[in-house]
Symmetry: C2
Subunit: 224 residues, 2 copies
């Protein structure tokens, strides 16, 4: 994949007919399809049809489908929140919540960001904002690893969210379904599920993990 595709300016040439579409229009149409019907429903044919053109016309704007998906991710992520100046813990909490909001609004982003891929301006912007709020005393590697850990947690939660629903932990429901007949083989899981059910089933896995990570980070920061 052309890594600089997300970075270079359009630089429209002068000759020839003016393009009828823009990259943003195409990406938006694709995002709309993915939001409504999942990433699998996004095909060149479908995106072009929704825009009223043929699929081959899209190749005038995009080298291929991989670049379309990358553009979709950039479009879905959007501008990161400005958290610089806040206390590190409050800032990172706001950052993680904003990222979670962006991710659960586009459940397909999880699938679209697996594996090695080019990093776009927005994605790097999110990292930049998180790094800015981190306090002194951490090495560069530690700062980057902190952001990666937080982002990983958000991704994990967003990946469990039911498509189009709240960021509920569907994993437990899936487990409960499978465990109905095999509870004897997994006593610890059965006990945990029973305990959750006994306590009303309310569970905020996102906040729990986030607080643990931030607590651990606080231990490190205070030791410096």
């Amino acid at each position: 994949m052309t890594a600089d595709f997300l970075w270079r300016e359009p630089a429209r040439p002068s000759r020839g007919p003016k393009p009828a579409l823009t990259l943003e229009q195409i990406a938006d149409a694709a995002v709309a399809i993915a939001d409504a019907e999942g990433l699998a429903a996004v095909s060149m044919q479908r995106v072009a049809a929704d825009l009223g053109y043929t699929k081959m016309s899209l190749y005038r704007y995009l080298p291929g489908k991989a670049e379309l998906v990358a553009a979709m991710v950039e479009r879905a992520l959007g501008e990161p929140p400005a958290i610089a100046g806040q206390a590190w813990r409050a800032g990172l909490t706001a950052w993680a919540n904003a990222l979670l909001t962006a991710c659960v609004g586009h459940p397909w982003a999880q699938e679209a960001t697996t594996g090695s891929r080019p990093v776009g301006p927005h994605e790097l912007g999110w990292t930049e904002q998180a790094l800015r709020v981190l306090p002194e005393g951490l090495t560069g590697a530690e700062r980057m690893d902190t952001v990666a850990t937080l982002a990983g947690h958000v991704r994990m939660i967003a990946g469990q969210a039911s498509p189009g629903g709240e960021p509920e932990v569907e994993l437990e429901a899936s487990m409960a379904r499978a465990m109905a007949e095999h509870a004897d083989r997994y006593p610890a899981v059965a006990e945990a599920i029973a305990d959750i059910a006994a306590n009303g089933g309310a569970d905020d896995a996102f906040s729990f993990g986030l607080e643990r990570i931030l607590d651990g980070l606080e231990v490190l920061i205070r030791s410096r």
Copy 2:
């Protein structure tokens, strides 16, 4: 997808010719392809050809490709390590390391486990083992969320590993590539990367995040 596909026994009927293949053979062939060339290279045609059969014969063993992928994941995960009896911190560390080893050996597992999907016996077994080592004083929801947070961290690290390589943090390399021309827009990222380079580039993002999560968990456990 048939959720009970991974759980039911083969239950071979008596009449008719004996099957020439087994589910394990098919899954192993698919895993071998995915390990070598990625999940995208796994097609019914390719798997069947590697086994010396036609693609349609696979449908005698599997309802469809989704089930093949699920079987691949179960095969790749394997049996979880027995960590019960260890101290919780040592046990979880061993558990996370074992899971990381299983994941980096099969980078495609990241891609194959996104979104809602059936949970297999092995996957549930990993959760069971982690839950068993957790100390008293945590609610069922907290125990499940802890395991999910740890698993999410492992997945994040494994997802950044270059296919076929070590669990290095390729994200930073990708960032450095993109930042070469845009360092001015991302000063905090530039500073962190420069600091990493100045310190030899050694970075163990997995251990860093794991220690932070476990530190945070320790804070919670000691407060009970």
